[in-house]
């Protein structure tokens, strides 16, 4: 029983993390039909910026709780700078090109950003840590369930994941902007003909997507050593989640993250040797049954 509870909690925490890193990827794909490989770099940029901001905060001796604001600020800053620069400076010249070309473009961007990160932050691993060892991760303390200690920081992660999912769902289904967005998703040309500013929609979507990647990075930063190459690891697992759920689907990303999180936690507790394999087993089974993922909508055929 205590094993099952542990699986449930571990699975939920991991699923929340997966959802936060995958949701931006699926949003950008859903709206813009761009499989953004550079999502991994934006995640890494968020993490590196969070280290810089938090450590500067600690170095000034400000109250440690403020480091959480620094994590948020880092994510917003990366989203607001990198998103518009990439979208206006590069991607808008590529719209209308084949999806494969766009994958190659964002892959090239990924390689460039990896080197930019090396140039700016160097290759040494970094920690979010103050001069006296303060870290947002340990700051919040622990909670205990059936003999296992969990950091409260994980609750924060779950909270952010739920809030992100809820906010995006609300915007998409309850606001005018969301309805316009759905129109653009369904038919870009017709929406443009009807007077929707497609360029602006893309601009906002990409910026939000970039910010979500950076949120994932900033929230991960205090729990790991922030090191170049961390983006490459993330893009693979985020892609697996998004494919399981159905590319471009928001509930798909949530369900995909939940399934992967639970399966992984269960295999770690009951059959650790299967851990690496389990995620891809799920992916294979899902794709055999539903080749376009769990939540893919029917494609509208265009003449």
């Amino acid at each position: 029983m205590s094993h099952l509870i542990a699986v449930l909690i571990d699975g939920t925490i991991y699923a929340s993390w997966l959802f936060v890193i995958a949701v931006g990827l699926t949003l950008i794909y859903g709206v813009m039909k761009i499989l953004n490989i550079a999502h991994g770099s934006l995640y890494a940029l968020g993490a590196f910026t969070a280290v810089t901001f938090c450590n500067a905060w600690f170095a000034h001796g400000y109250p440690a709780l403020g480091s959480f604001a620094m994590l948020g600020l880092a994510a917003i800053a990366v989203g607001l700078v990198a998103g518009p620069v990439i979208e206006r400076g590069l991607l808008r010249f590529m719209y209308g090109k084949d999806e494969v070309v766009l994958v190659l473009v964002t892959y090239a961007l990924f390689l460039i950003l990896e080197d930019v990160i090396k140039l700016v932050w160097g290759v040494d691993p970094l920690f979010v840590q103050g001069p006296n060892g303060e870290s947002p991760y340990a700051l919040l303390g622990n909670f205990e369930i059936s003999g296992l200690n969990y950091p409260n920081y994980s609750l924060l992660l779950i909270g952010v994941a739920v809030a992100t999912g809820a906010a995006l769902t609300w915007v998409l289904t309850r606001t005018k902007a969301g309805k316009l967005l759905i129109a653009v998703i369904h038919d870009r040309e017709m929406s443009a003909a009807l007077g929707i500013d497609v360029g602006r929609t893309y601009f906002v979507t990409f910026t939000v997507g970039a910010m979500l990647a950076a949120v994932g990075g900033a929230l991960t930063a205090p729990t790991v050593s922030v090191v170049t190459g961390m983006g490459a690891e993330v893009i693979v697992v985020a892609f697996a989640v998004v494919v399981i759920g159905g590319l471009g689907s928001l509930p798909g990303a949530a369900l995909g993250a939940f399934i992967v999180g639970m399966v992984r936690a269960a295999s770690i507790h009951f059959a650790p040797e299967l851990e690496l394999f389990s995620v891809y087993l799920v992916m294979a089974v899902v794709l055999i049954v539903r080749p376009k993922g769990l939540f893919s909508g029917a494609e509208v055929r265009k003449i």
Binding site: V123, T220, T223, S225, T228, R264, I268, P272
Partner: protein
């Protein structure tokens, strides 16, 4: 066609001129080009690759200036200055094979030194054999290189990883004979699996009653260890074995420490030494750490250790860690082999006046040794290094053998120190020639001498 002829003519002229010069070899060969391959980016760069590169640069500067302690006081290799070409090891085995070819065929290096990843070593060794280029492996751990194959051009100047596991078990049983329940967390790739398999086999052989509770094998670079930590806590092992390194080890420690994983379980970090200064407050007291040999804090005091510490500290500001020691072993090994080959040639030269072509014979004797002569001198060589004496006695004289050591951490004024250090000689922790590590462990680990 024409250009080739011109070039050939020029080369012939130059050769003729060089040969006509009545001088020693040093004038002909102005430098020895060493290709040095190590991680300059990625997770292995911070703890291993960059310290190895810094060490290589410091060592070459010091050797070229002739400032190393005896018997390494001659400049460069045998009086010829060393020129370094440094290459990034990141990118995987396939990329490294093509980088290796570029180094040998386009850059025309005289010797390749390097490689930290076991996968890279396994991939590069056969190519070294194909291109017939002297290649010295610096840090990779897998015993399979010389146990599964036999090489003429490949050497490894540090012991392989079997002794890390064997000595870890010996140390554990020396200090905690009552150990009953053991778990492991290792990365799911060559080195992680080899480490765990050796450790598991050794502890089962030496203490048959021990219960292996779980072996966690997270993906290389996984980053998130929440579920693994839960599984480890709930299985309540006495001891957790780990060969994690780099960003993975750091992330694991960051996530495990606040969750009190180590309150009831003792941690064994077989490659923990490079992290002691990086993770203050995150490595619990009582952790058993190794440095994959008598490196770093485990190195016995000697002129060579002081030399390496001094030149490394002058460059980097901190004490050298074990990859820096491994790098020193490789460079000093090549230097020792080179100079031994040189001495042998001169010693074997025809005595003056006895032969007809005295001048030619003398020139030949004083020419720098060629690769075959260096290899002959390198096989079964025994030389001094900052971590002690290195004996090239396994793998038909191509694989180094050394003793090793383990210790236990304790934190003093925020600095992690290593105490209760115990040394194990090479014969006790290394399989004999002709026996694979796993067979030797399972057969009860008889002393190899």
């Amino acid at each position: 066609m024409k250009i080739t002829t011109v070039v050939r003519g020029a080369v012939a002229c130059a050769t003729a001129l060089a040969l006509a010069m009545p001088a020693f070899a040093q004038d002909k060969k102005t430098s020895i080009k060493v290709g040095f391959v190590t991680f300059l980016s990625g997770p292995a760069a911070g703890p291993f690759g960059v310290p190895a590169k810094m060490a290589a640069e410091a060592i070459v500067e010091s050797l070229n200036a002739g400032k190393a302690p005896a018997p390494y006081q001659s400049k460069g290799f045998g009086g010829i200055p060393i020129e370094l070409v440094i290459i990034d090891e990141a990118g995987g085995a396939t990329k490294q094979v093509s980088e290796y070819r570029t180094l040998v065929q386009r850059q025309e290096v005289d010797v390749v030194i390097g490689y930290i990843g076991s996968g890279d070593c396994l991939a590069v060794a056969p190519v070294a054999e194909e291109l017939k280029k002297l290649t010295v492996l610096v840090d990779c751990g897998t015993p399979r290189i010389f146990e599964d194959a036999s090489y003429r051009y490949v050497f490894r100047t540090r012991p392989h990883a079997t002794m890390d596991a064997v000595a870890a078990v010996l140390y554990l049983l020396d200090n905690r004979p009552a150990v009953k329940r053991v778990s492991g967390i290792n990365q799911n790739y060559a080195y992680g699996q080899d480490s765990w398999n050796d450790f598991e086999a050794t502890i089962k052989t030496l203490k048959p009653g021990v219960e292996i509770i779980s072996s966690q094998m997270p993906k290389f670079g996984a980053g998130q260890y929440g579920a693994e930590i839960s599984a480890l806590i709930s299985s309540a092992p006495d001891v957790i074995h780990s060969s994690l390194w780099g960003g993975d080890l750091e992330a694991f420690m960051l996530q495990a420490q606040p969750r009190d994983l180590f309150k009831n379980s003792q941690l064994v970090l077989v490659a923990g030494e490079p992290y002691l200064h990086r993770l203050p407050g995150k490595i619990p007291d009582g952790t058993i750490v190794g440095a994959r040999g008598t490196n770093g804090v485990f190195a016995p005091d000697s002129a060579h250790k002081r030399w390496l510490t001094e030149i490394y500290k002058a460059k980097v500001g901190i004490d050298p860690n074990y990859p820096a020691y491994s790098t020193a072993e490789a460079f000093l090994g090549v230097k020792a082999a080179f100079e031994k080959a040189m001495r042998q040639k001169i010693g074997a030269a025809t005595p003056m006046g006895a032969a007809k072509n005295v001048k030619e014979e003398m020139e030949k004797a004083y020419a720098p040794p060629n690769q075959d002569e260096i290899i002959a001198a390198f096989e079964k060589l025994s030389f001094e290094s900052p971590s002690g004496r290195v004996n090239m006695s396994l793998g038909k004289g191509h694989q180094a053998v050394m003793g090793t050591a383990y210790g236990t951490t304790r934190t003093e004024n925020g600095v992690v120190k290593v105490g209760n250090i115990k040394y194990y000689d090479a014969e006790r922790v290394t399989p004999p020639e002709g026996m694979t590590s796993l067979d030797w462990i399972k057969s009860g680990m008889k002393r190899s001498k």
